[in-house]
Symmetry: C2
Subunit: 406 residues, 2 copies
C-alpha cells in the first residue's frame, strides 16, 4: 500500500472472483473500520456491474487491470485453484498485498515460487480462509498455551458430510487440478490440526478413497499425523453424504445448522437429477455474487462453525466445541466458554491489516499455506505408496519458533 494510506491506516481491497468465496469476504471487510472494498474482477459483467453499484467500487474484466488500479492496496484472490499461480504472479508484479484462497497452489514447487515472488516484491502473502482462523480453533490453542491442562498430546477430527455432492465445477472433482476432499478439505482439516498442535508435523500415514466412479476424485480419507514433539492426530473425512457428523455436533456444520432438514441424502439425490457438468457449473455459479442462489452473508445469523467433530486431549483434560464456544473437561470440572460473535474471515481481514499496516507477521503466510499443501500431498502419496511419508516443509505457528523442519 502507498504511504498515504499507511498514514490514514486505510487498506483498500480488490476481489478477484465474485463467486462463493469472494462474496463471503464482503461482510468481514465491511465490519473492519479501516478496510474497504474498492474493486473486483470477474467474468460475469452483469454481476460486476451490480457489485460496482452496490459498493460504489470499480470493476475490471481482467485480473491485470484490477491489479494495475491505484485504488487497490491488496487483492483477495478467490479464483479457481488452477489460476492461483497466474493471479498471484500478476499481483506481486504490481506489488499488491495478497490473500489467496487456499490452497495456495497444487505443488510445493509452485508454492515456493509464489512465496519467493512475494518476498522479492516486499508484499504480504496470506493464504486463507482456512479453518484455523476460526475463533473456536484459536481459543483451543489459547487454552493449551495457558498450560492448566498440560501438554497437548492427541488431536482427533472426524468430518462426515455431503462435500462430494454439493454443486461442483469439473476442476473441483479433478485431483490433478487440486480437486477432491484431500486437497480442498484437507487444507482445512490439516490446518486445524497443525494450528492446535503447533505446526511442526513430522510424518503422515494415510488412506484415500474414491468410491463413486461418477465423481472420480478423493471423496474420503483417513490419516495419522505425528508432530515432531510426539503429539499425534487422526483426521478422518468422508464426503459421500451418508452418515453426517452434524448428528454429533448439535446439528451445526461449517456454515450453521445442518441441511439434513431437506431430507436424507438430499445433496446426492439432487446431483443425480442433473443432466451434465455444465448444468452443475451453472448452478454453482448462481451461488456467487448477484446469483439467484447467493447467500446474504451479512444477514446470516452467526454460529461458531464446526468442521466436523474435533476432540483435543491434553495430559490433564480434553477440549471440544460447544454450540457457541468450547467445552473444557478439566481435572475437577467440565465448563463451557462462550465465544464472541466473530468469524474466521473477520480474523483473516484483521491479520492482513495488522501485517500491512503494523508489520505484524501473519501466521497464515505463504509458508504456512505451503506446509498445509505438503500435508495434503503427503496424504495422497502415503495412500498411493501404502507407507509413511516424512515431511520437510513444516513451519511453527508461533513465528518466534519458526524454522524449516529438520
Amino acid at each position: 500500500m502507498t504511504n498515504s494510506h499507511t498514514n490514514s491506516l486505510q487498506l483498500r481491497i480488490g476481489i478477484v472472483g465474485l463467486g462463493n468465496a469472494g462474496s463471503a469476504l464482503l461482510p468481514s471487510i465491511a465490519k473492519h473500520p479501516n478496510v474497504r472494498v474498492t474493486a473486483a474482477s470477474g467474468r460475469n459483467k452483469e454481476r460486476l456491474e451490480k457489485f460496482a453499484r452496490d459498493y460504489q467500487a470499480e470493476y475490471h474484466l481482467s485480473v491485470e487491470d484490477l491489479c494495475r488500479s491505484e485504488q487497490v492496496d491488496a487483492v483477495y484472490i478467490a479464483s479457481p485453484t488452477e489460476l492461483h499461480v497466474k493471479h498471484v504472479q500478476i499481483a506481486t508484479h504490481y506489488k499488491k498485498h495478497i490473500i489467496v484462497e487456499k490452497p495456495l497452489a497444487v505443488s510445493v514447487e509452485e508454492a515456493d515460487m509464489l512465496i519467493q515472488a512475494a518476498d522479492r516484491a516486499g508484499i504480504h502473502l496470506i493464504v486463507g480462509h482456512s479453518f484455523s482462523f476460526e475463533p473456536p480453533i484459536r481459543k483451543i490453542r489459547e487454552i493449551i498455551n495457558e498450560g492448566t491442562l498440560g501438554n497437548v498430546k492427541m488431536i482427533n477430527n472426524w468430518y462426515f458430510n455431503d462435500w462430494m455432492y454439493r454443486f461442483r465445477t469439473p476442476e473441483e472433482l479433478d485431483t490433478a487440478l487440486g480437486g477432491g476432499v484431500t486437497y480442498r478439505q484437507g487444507s482445512h482439516q490439516f490446518d486445524i490440526i497443525r494450528y492446535i498442535g503447533g505446526g511442526m508435523l513430522r510424518s503422515v500415514r494415510a488412506m484415500t478413497g474414491r468410491w463413486d466412479e461418477s465423481r472420480p476424485t478423493e471423496g474420503a480419507h483417513a490419516a495419522f499425523l505425528e508432530f515432531e514433539n510426539g503429539t499425534v492426530a487422526t483426521a478422518v473425512y468422508n464426503g459421500y453424504d451418508h452418515f453426517l457428523t452434524t448428528e454429533l455436533t448439535f446439528g451445526i456444520g461449517e456454515g450453521g445448522p445442518s441441511k439434513r432438514a431437506q431430507g436424507y441424502a438430499a445433496s446426492r439425490k439432487a446431483i443425480q437429477q442433473l443432466k451434465n457438468s455444465d448444468e452443475e457449473r451453472e448452478l454453482k455459479s448462481q451461488k456467487g455474487y448477484g446469483g439467484n442462489q447467493s447467500k446474504n452473508y451479512s444477514e446470516e445469523k452467526h454460529h461458531q462453525p464446526f468442521f466436523g467433530l474435533t476432540v483435543v486431549s491434553c495430559e490433564r483434560g480434553d477440549i471440544r466445541q460447544s454450540p457457541n464456544g468450547l467445552y473444557v473437561y478439566g481435572e475437577n470440572e467440565k465448563y463451557e466458554i462462550q465465544l464472541p460473535n466473530e468469524t474466521g474471515r473477520d480474523v483473516m481481514v484483521a491479520e492482513l491489516y495488522e501485517a500491512v499496516v503494523h508489520g505484524k507477521p501473519p501466521i497464515h503466510d505463504g509458508r504456512w499455506g505451503k506446509a498445509n499443501l505438503e500435508v495434503c500431498q503427503a496424504v495422497l502419496e502415503s495412500a498411493r505408496e501404502r507407507k509413511e511419508i516424512y515431511l520437510s516443509h513444516q513451519v511453527a505457528v508461533d513465528s518466534s519458533e519458526r524454522k524449516v523442519s529438520k
Copy 2:
C-alpha cells in the same frame, strides 16, 4: 468332553476365578439349554462355598484340582492375565476345552506355545470375552457381507472413558504384565476392527500415552491400522476420565447407561481418596462373586453395549450403533435395525458349545486371540519406534479364508 456327554449334548463348565469376569459368565451359562456350571476354583473360600451352595456345584482351591474333576468338560479361565499361561497348560494337560479371558498371553511366543498345546491335546481353545462377540458388531459384519453397501473401506472407533481410574489390581497397571489400555482394551478395540474388516491386518502406525505418573502404564493410544486389502481403521482410546464418548452414544457404555450420573470425574476422584494399592485391590475384589459390590448379572437390564463410538464406512453407505441396534445409512435412506436381547457372552458360550459338540470351528480361537495380541504389541512397538510395524500372525474371520498373513 466324554462321549456320554456328547450323546446327551450337555457341556459342563468349571470357572477358574470368580472375579468380575468369572461371575459375568454365569447368566450366559444358565441361559444355554445344554450348558451347565459344575465347578469353580479361586482363593476366597467363603465365596467359593457360597457359589457351591448357590449352584449345587463343586469348588476347588487349586486350578489343578478343578481341571482334574470328572464333572468338568471345559474351563473358563478368568484368572489374572499373568496366570493364563500356567492355567491353560494345566487345562490342556487334563484335556479340558478352554475359554481363556483375553488376552491369551502377553507374548506371541507364549500364545503359540498354548495354541500348540491345545492342538496336541485335541481340545478347543477360545479366547474371550472380547467385543466382537457382541451382537451389534456381528450384525455390522453381516450387513457388509450382504453386499448392498459395497465393500467396507474405513472403520473408525473412539473410546474416551474412565478406564484408568476404575479399581485396578497392580497387575492391570503394569504393561509388562499385560496391563494398561493398549493390552487390556486394545484387545477389544482391535478385535472389533479386525472382525469388521475381515481379520487380515497388514500394518500398524500408532502412539501410546502415559499421562499420569501415579498410574504408570498406557492410558491412551491412537492407531492407524491398514488391512491387506487396503481397508483402513483408526482406533483412538483415552481412559483418563475427562471427555467421555458416552456423550455421543446415547449415554450408553460397555455395560449400559453411563456413570456420569455420579458426577464429573467421579472415578478419578474416588481413586485419589484411596490410601494404597492394597485398598484398591480389595475394593476391586468386592466386585467378584459374593462381594459386596458384585453386580447381579442375571437381573441386569440388557442394552446393546457400546465400546465407544464406531462408524463403519462402505462404498455406498455407513453403519453405526443405535441404542438397541444399528443405524444403516444407505444410498437412499437411513434405517434402524433392532437387535435381539442377546449378549456377547451368550454368543461365546454358544461358540464353545458348537465347537465341542458339533465340531464347528470357532472364530475366536487361539490364533484369532494371538492375532489380536500381535496388534496390541505392534501398537506399543510403533509408538516406541515412531514407525510403521508390519504384522505376520494375522488370520481371517472366515475360517474358509484362513491363512497366515504374508
